[in-house]
């Protein structure tokens, strides 16, 4: 087992060495994980020594078994680390592959700049490299032990900047990680109370409280953060990405689209966003929702009351989100499209999304 792990670590070290590049973000990512690999290698040596010691106590059966089990546990942890490092390597090499083409390299450096600026706006990126990796879906991989946050976007969307507003949702997950304890302590008991008022079965209350605590609350918070950064453009791209014929349908990991959109609109109303901003969001939503056959409303498990209380909490946490502060500028940028030179990328990206300028180009 130790030899097998040792050879995996050696291969990974070689893989990481091969993707060393002139790209600052990739280098930082690779550097952090190379030192983790070195640590694993050192501990494998220590486990090897323990194995040799083990043979000297073979006759003391209970001691032998205890130490053998301890060693196995350590090796299992290294196996998991190796698996995680494989994922990181795969993501880093996807990033490097994307950098090979001149066009995609340009887009990658633009999307890097975009996400760094958004993270600064949220004040969540101190000493934490945000690394974009083109993968198959919008997703994120926070690795707190190495202080790295990897954000994935579909490779097919790398050259579609208007879709990048969806990255602001991934930053919302980072925001949630930062303030997790406070958000949960302040909102979850109230959510549970709401559930108790409408649901009788205790096991259903537990099930949905856990769903809210484990997944849904985080998703709604991430949506509100994204709306605060990108405004109606985020809602529009969320609708496109979700491609949801049943907006009241609940998923294990995500609340219904109806709830997600409601949370954003209510939040904008609560922070007293400019009227035309909120109206644009409502129009974007109605254009989609009005055409869907399903008329059912949200269930008691994800009711409007629950969604509103999360929006209220977030409105107190972030009273003047970026898009509200910059709505006037945003309108100027959108009016000037397709001309984007020297404009702030944080406004150009959502402006492209909301205006459909790419369709006309």
């Amino acid at each position: 087992m130790i030899e097998d792990l040792r050879s995996d670590v050696a291969s990974l070290k070689e893989f990481f060495r091969m993707i060393h590049s002139d790209d600052e973000k990739t280098s930082e990512l690779v550097g952090r994980f190379e030192s983790k690999l070195n640590k694993i290698e050192l501990d494998l040596d220590a486990q090897d020594r323990l194995c040799r010691y083990l043979s000297s106590i073979k006759r003391v059966r209970s001691a032998y078994k205890e130490l053998y089990t301890r060693i196995l546990f350590r090796l299992q942890q290294h196996r998991q680390s190796v698996y995680l490092l494989h994922m990181v390597y795969a993501l880093a090499s996807l990033r490097e592959n994307a950098r090979e083409g001149e066009v995609s390299q340009r887009f990658l450096s633009l999307v890097d700049e975009y996400i760094d600026l958004l993270a600064d706006e949220l004040d969540v990126s101190a000493n934490l490299p945000l690394v974009i990796a083109p993968e198959s879906a919008y997703a994120s991989l926070p690795i707190p032990s190495e202080s790295v946050f990897i954000v994935m976007l579909p490779l097919t969307n790398l050259t579609k900047p208007w879709k990048w507003v969806l990255l602001s949702h991934e930053l919302g997950h980072l925001y949630f990680q930062y303030y997790r304890e406070n958000i949960i302590a302040e909102t979850l008991p109230v959510i549970e109370e709401e559930l108790r008022e409408t649901i009788r079965k205790e096991e259903q209350i537990d099930k949905y409280t856990n769903l809210w605590g484990g997944y849904w609350l985080q998703e709604i918070v991430a949506d509100i953060i994204a709306a605060g950064l990108s405004g109606p453009a985020y809602l529009k791209m969320l609708i496109i990405e979700a491609t949801e014929p049943k907006p009241t349908r609940e998923y294990g990991s995500h609340p219904p689209l109806d709830a997600r959109s409601l949370a954003q609109i209510v939040y904008m109303e609560l922070v007293k966003a400019p009227n035309d901003l909120t109206l644009t969001m409502k129009r974007v939503w109605e254009e989609f929702r009005g055409g869907v056959q399903e008329t059912a409303s949200l269930s008691d498990y994800s009711s409007e009351e629950i969604v509103e209380l999360i929006s209220r909490f977030m409105a107190n946490a972030i009273r003047e989100p970026y898009i509200v502060k910059n709505w006037g500028e945003f309108k100027r940028v959108i009016g000037g499209l397709p001309e984007t030179k020297s404009e702030d990328i944080r406004l150009v990206v959502p402006a492209m999304a909301l205006s459909d300028v790419h369709v006309r180009l």
Partner: protein
């Protein structure tokens, strides 16, 4: 979780070696003081669990996975009893740190750390499997 499993796993190995040397009279290569340091490295993890208990009681929301695992291990519904157990183990760790070795301290610490280590390990596996579908 992966980090917790690593740290607690290492403390358990060190504890086992200390026990071999001090309680069972087996010869070991490692220095006693280094082993005690490795055992004590688990203290911040336990202190963090104590503050999680306080937050959980305050928020009235269900306990996080590691506390839930401890509740199951000891059969305690009341988190205050888990809190007592954690404090007891922290005291046992202090005694070991000072070089005072008792069989019951080793047992108490091992039971609690094993529970945390295995739960952290399986949660870490779950989280890594879920990563990418955030």
């Amino acid at each position: 979780m992966n980090e917790i499993a690593h740290r607690v796993g290492d403390a358990l190995t060190a504890l086992t070696l200390l026990k071999f040397s001090k309680m069972r009279g087996l010869a070991i290569d490692e220095e006693e003081e280094k082993l005690r340091e490795r055992v004590l490295a688990v203290k911040p993890v336990l202190q963090n669990l104590l503050s999680e208990i306080k937050n959980t009681i305050k928020s009235r929301y269900g306990p996080p996975p590691l506390l839930r695992a401890l509740q199951e291990e000891y059969g305690y519904a009341d988190l205050r009893r888990v809190e007592e157990k954690l404090k007891k183990v922290l005291n046992a760790l202090e005694r070991i740190w000072k070089g005072s070795y008792r069989g019951e301290d080793f047992e108490e610490i091992e039971r609690l750390l094993e529970c945390i280590a295995y739960e952290a390990s399986s949660r870490s596996q779950e989280l890594v499997a879920r990563a990418g579908r955030y």
